[in-house]
């Protein structure tokens, strides 16, 4: 398991990172309704990179000199939706670990969830909220979908602000079938179109799980007082940090997140606030367990 989040900053290869994060974390998000691969044979399909070797039909390979995979009849009815908040504020760097941002951390978390979903045979899709738009990757199964989602996550850059609530309503309009919605973001805007969409999905009986990413510096309220600060998403106003305003900062921030937590609790929406300096494997496990408990 990946112990330190510093390693996230060192590679752009999401597949490598999730292999490390998921080591020893084989159990999935939810109890699969089907028994595993190949219970009831449905069809053969050409091998694709990422398929498990044990699912390759070796007799058929000996006959046809090609790899084929036994596709089993195991339609999980659970779709996993990964929602990534990729607005400009997600570029907030960890001021302790160099080159680590909230966006990188969120990306790794969602990639791990996607890999878990793929292992379980669930369909999964991706919604990236970025630059006033929602980029939508439809839900599907299989290793290719995992690669597609990982590539999309890798491509994602943090720009702009959240899309409007109408856009989000159109993008996050799922079938009434039960689905798991994993949202990773900083939730600095609350209420926001994203929060409304989350609460709405929760009321629609979807399993919504939120991961609120924070940095050590934000929690400790320790910023460089020599610098002036500006909000990456709002205007050109300049903010000042100093010892005199530290208490006000802590008070404002705690009040804000108290609202967030209470809103989530009222709607029975599991929320995990994690610092990006924490080990990603630990955070992932806590997030999934919290959800199961909830």
């Amino acid at each position: 398991m990946l112990d330190s989040s510093a390693l996230i900053a060192h590679t752009a290869r999401l597949d490598l990172v999730i292999r490390h994060v998921l080591a020893g974390l084989g159990h999935g998000i939810h109890a699969g309704r089907e028994r595993g691969a190949g219970v009831e044979f449905s069809e053969y399909r050409a091998y694709a990179p990422g398929d498990e070797w044990r699912r390759v039909d070796w007799k058929l390979m000996a006959r046809a000199d090609r790899y084929f995979v036994r596709e089993a009849e195991r339609d999980s009815h659970v779709a996993v939706w990964l929602v990534l908040d990729a607005t400009a504020s997600m570029l907030e760097p960890s001021r302790a670990v160099p080159e680590l941002t909230k966006l990188q951390y969120a990306r790794v978390m969602l990639a791990c969830v996607a890999a878990l979903a793929q292992r379980q045979g669930d369909a999964f899709g991706l919604v990236v909220c970025q630059g006033e738009r929602a980029h939508f990757t439809p839900a599907a199964r299989g290793p290719r979908q995992l690669q597609r989602v990982l590539a999309q996550l890798n491509r994602t850059d943090a720009v702009g602000t959240l899309p409007g609530s109408d856009t989000l309503r159109a993008s996050l309009h799922f079938s009434p079938a039960p689905s798991v919605v994993c949202v990773a973001g900083d939730f600095l805007d609350w209420p926001s179109p994203l929060s409304e969409a989350m609460l709405r999905l929760r009321r629609m009986r979807h399993d919504v799980r939120a991961l609120c990413l924070q940095t050590e510096a934000e929690v400790q309220a320790s910023f460089d007082p020599a610098l002036a600060y500006r909000d990456p998403e709002q205007g050109s106003q300049v903010f000042r940090f100093g010892r005199d305003v530290r208490a006000a900062y802590v008070r404002n921030r705690e009040a804000h997140f108290a609202t967030v937590v209470s809103d989530c609790r009222q709607n029975d929406l599991p929320l995990l606030c994690a610092r990006i300096e924490q080990a990603p494997g630990e955070v992932l496990r806590t997030w999934l367990r919290k959800a199961v408990r909830a």
Partner: protein, 329 residues
């Protein structure tokens, strides 16, 4: 008038402003949770720092040199000076300049010392003493200078000047008499055949002159000999035209052709030639001491630094172009 160009010096502000770096805000970093902080007034920093200082320096120097060239910059650099009119005896100069032993001696280009001094007065330091020795030409009015100028003028004996004349005429004696008449310092030498020194040829023969003869001026007795005289112009009673051999003069009734009464016309021709070719020599100025007059008008163009400034301008321009090109790449 030229010094008005110094008012163009504020143009130097332009490159300085162009090269000045843009105003910088207080360094600000993005902070996602900045909304929990109180708003501060943004601080503006005016940074007086320049980009490409070498190029800025070159451009400023270029402009300053150009203005200095246009304004005809003159730096006072001459100290005590003894100005010697050409042709003055060195013994006289030594005697007159006894009080200015360490002064620099310089020979003037001509006798008109007052005019030269007026043009170059700005080159002399304010405390410089000036002594002019020799046959100084007398100016029309009393000169005024910002320096005290001592004129030690002494009339020089007029040097004998010879003018060579060639006469081809049926009556050469009459012409010789004309040229033999005394004319001050001038002396006419009548040559039998024209040489390179010949300044005038009198051609009073009915046939055309041989091809090789040339002179600046011809006096023609029979205008039919020179076809160029068919299209003459007239100045007074003299008809003139230009030809490949030189300028041709003739008159309607040619003097010294028939009787001696026309000798006056010949003298008029001679006088016209002298007046046109050889202006009268000015008188010698009386020796005197010209007191310094602070209100005396400064002389016109000095031009002493013009060559240096032009070369500097050229070099600076080339350097500026090179540096600009290098910066663009």
């Amino acid at each position: 008038m030229n010094s008005l160009w110094w008012w163009a010096l504020p143009v130097l502000i332009l490159p300085i402003l162009w090269h000045r770096q843009k105003r910088e805000q207080t360094k600000s970093a993005p902070l996602a949770s900045a909304r929990f902080l109180p708003v501060a007034q943004p601080k503006q920093l005016r940074v007086w720092r320049w980009s490409d200082p070498v190029l800025l320096l070159l451009r400023c120097l270029l402009l300053a040199t150009l203005i200095a060239l246009l304004a005809d910059l003159v730096l006072p650099w001459r100290g005590d000076t003894v100005l010697v009119v050409p042709g003055t005896a060195p013994a006289l100069v030594d005697k007159e300049a006894a009080g200015l032993k360490e002064a620099r001696r310089m020979t003037l280009p001509d006798r008109d010392a007052v005019n030269w001094l007026h043009a170059h007065e700005r080159e002399f330091k304010p405390e410089a003493r000036l002594l002019v020795v020799g046959d100084v030409a007398m100016p029309a009015t009393l000169p005024r200078f910002q320096h005290a100028v001592v004129l030690r003028s002494q009339a020089a004996a007029p040097a004998g000047v010879e003018r060579h004349v060639a006469v081809f005429s049926g009556r050469p004696d009459a012409w010789r008499r004309l040229f033999a008449a005394p004319a001050g310092a001038l002396r006419y030498v009548v040559d039998a055949r024209p040489g390179p020194k010949t300044e005038l040829i009198v051609w009073d023969l009915p046939e055309a002159p041989p091809a090789g003869i040339r002179a600046p001026l011809w006096w023609i007795g029979d205008a039919r000999v020179f076809p160029e005289l068919a299209k003459y112009k007239e100045a007074g009673r003299i008809r003139y035209a230009d030809s490949a051999r030189g300028r041709l003069w003739t008159m309607e009734t040619w003097p010294l052709a028939g009787d001696d009464d026309a000798a006056d016309d010949a003298r008029a021709l001679l006088a016209a030639w002298q007046r046109l070719q050889y202006p009268p020599q000015p008188f010698t100025a009386p020796p005197q001491v010209l007191t310094a007059d602070a209100k005396a008008p400064a002389g016109p163009a000095g031009g002493a630094l013009r060559d240096m400034l032009s070369i500097a301008l050229l070099v600076l321009f080339a350097l500026e172009r090179i540096v600009t090109h290098v910066r663009r790449r």
